[in-house]
Point group: C2
Chain length 194, copies 2
């Protein structure tokens, strides 16, 4: 683990900026119902494939919320960022790729894959998934994030994809697991057509 | 949409049972950091494949948290449930399959696929994914959930999987999208070995 974590504690959250809870009250089929919900930011995530190295570029970081569930707290994720700026989503994706992973990717090289909703039982945040291919010419820094983010860039060889997906000792998201499957399916369909 | 929703409003959540927010404070590499987090329940989800009909059995329901993001609020999901009982996870899976979808599946017919973490940026809830095959002999009710849950059971023909995954007008989770991809990959590898 890159970052040593000590003195972890939970305090009351009195003035949230990122996780707003509410009680939703509504009528469904004439019955009044309530449901506890969290409004969090929408986000973008980008599957990055390095064409020369034949690796995926991922990010490893300490996630306080995961730490509560798993006494490690480190996740391996797609490059991603919350939508907290009034910019086109693809522009936020470009910025996150450079900040977190150190690659400068032109806007028109970013492909939109799809979107989905996470933790629908209580949160329902929307994540838009993108795909981009990078190479060494696009490398402009070591990445690692901004403002004290301790993000480690990880290169995962394509042939290790399945081992990675089913290695439960690595905390990861279903969005990343889907993105890998999507990538392989497309690669196979290209093999058939070329 | 099955259920008409009216009079939707948000109220302050003063005494939460399902979404507990906290401010995490910790030391990382000698720097004190804080992060807003939500502790929600872990969950199980089950990909159900009906062998005689060649369909996936899914559930459609109104999700108040998704409604905030999408003026429909209806999702199509894997059969799933939160872990709020002191029972083996697979037992909770069996109960959810019967309550939501109306099939009585023996414990030993439930296969564990993997686990992952959702909304790691703020929640990090753990979801364990299972797989089960069902048939008409196992059908014991219409499903639909318990205690006023308005769950609609949906049968998705296997050949419509790709259209479904990329149909953004259907709100869905990346866990479902991954499960479909997993199922197809396994089916193909079985085709090669049989």
């Amino acid at each position: 683990m890159k970052s040593k974590i000590t003195d972890f504690k939970l305090e009351p959250l009195t003035d949230p900026s990122f996780v707003q809870t509410s009680l939703a009250r509504y009528e469904q089929e004439g019955t009044t119902k309530t449901w506890e919900i969290v409004k969090a930011h929408d986000s973008v995530a980008i599957l990055l494939y390095h064409t020369e190295k034949n690796v995926f570029i991922l990010v490893k970081q300490f996630r306080p919320a995961v730490y509560l569930n798993n006494q490690n707290g480190e996740t391996v994720e797609l490059c991603a960022g919350i939508v907290d700026k009034d910019l086109p989503l693809v522009q936020i994706a470009v910025e996150e790729i450079e900040e977190e992973c150190g690659y400068s990717v032109p806007l028109d090289a970013i492909e939109r894959v799809t979107l989905f909703y996470t933790s629908v039982g209580f949160a329902g945040s929307k994540q838009t998934l993108y795909y981009a291919e990078v190479d060494e010419k696009m490398k402009v820094s070591e990445g690692g994030g901004v403002e004290g983010e301790e993000i480690e860039v990880v290169e995962l060889p394509v042939e290790r994809m399945d081992d990675f997906i089913f290695d439960e000792s690595i905390a990861k998201t279903p969005g990343l697991m889907f993105a890998f499957m999507w990538w392989r399916q497309r690669r196979k369909s290209e093999d058939f057509t070329t």
